[in-house]
């Protein structure tokens, strides 16, 4: 399991490769990559700053990954989340899951992402032509996380 909160960019290909390398039990790899868009809530976004709660961030992602492992066949998992200054098209987050089968890989990857969006202490501040603004949490993200309580 690899969890990293970092300012630097990451190499998706290398990270995904590293998850399965040399492990013949891995039959499926699912990955999600999130990146910065240039439009949000109807406004142009120039740059954004990602703030987090050092210590709690790593702990909460670790707890989310542990929950995923207890629910699905997760052989290995990598979560990388960037913080600091980011621009449109920059990568923000990578969640990659190696499993025996695709069903578990897809489900665990989506679960980690949904939980990360509602439980890991990150906050985005956007710069728009009208000035800086903190991104508001979306109820659709809460709903996405809640549906996992009914599944399986």
């Amino acid at each position: 399991m690899k969890i990293s909160v970092q300012r630097e960019d990451f190499d998706c290909g290398a990270e995904i490769e590293a998850l399965a390398r040399g492990n013949p039990r891995v039959g499926a790899l699912a990955a999600f990559v999130g990146s910065v868009r240039d439009v949000n809530e109807g406004a142009e976004v120039g740059r954004m700053t990602l703030e987090h709660y050092p210590g709690m961030t790593e702990k909460s992602i670790g707890a989310i990954v542990e929950q995923a492992r207890s629910r699905w066949d997760v052989i290995d998992c990598t979560v990388i989340h960037r913080v600091g200054e980011l621009q449109p098209t920059d990568r923000i987050v990578l969640v990659a899951v190696a499993s025996g089968h695709r069903g578990d890989a897809f489900a665990a990857c989506e679960f980690v992402m949904d939980y990360l969006k509602t439980r890991a202490p990150f906050w985005k501040k956007e710069r728009t032509p009208e000035g800086e603004r903190w991104v508001e949490a979306r109820s659709s993200d809460d709903e996405a996380a809640e549906r996992w309580q009914e599944v399986k």
Binding site: Y53, G55, M56, I92, T118, R119, F122, A137
Partner: protein, 85 residues
């Protein structure tokens, strides 16, 4: 009872403070009571931590609801709903 208090994101900006060490009266022993206690500090605090406003809390770096108990030496954080990913 001495605790460490932290604020993040918009809450930190509204209150103009990132963190402090704080001596709490004995009766302030839960997250909810602490939030009410801090509201008494003035208008900015009342607005930022107003009842009904979505404010999350963590005790010792784990998400905590208003009923969670606080003991001496705890690290308590208040912040807005998270927006990562």
């Amino acid at each position: 009872m001495r605790i460490k208090l932290l604020f993040f994101a918009s809450l930190r900006e509204q209150l103009g403070i990132a963190g402090e060490e704080l001596d709490l009266p004995a009766e302030v022993s839960t997250v909810g009571a602490l939030r009410a206690h801090l509201r008494q500090r003035g208008p900015a605090w009342q607005a930022a931590l107003a009842e009904g406003k979505l404010v999350r809390a963590a005790v010792n770096q784990g998400m905590a609801g208003p009923a969670v108990t606080i003991v001496a030496g705890d690290e308590v954080a208040f912040f807005p709903p998270v927006t990562g990913g």
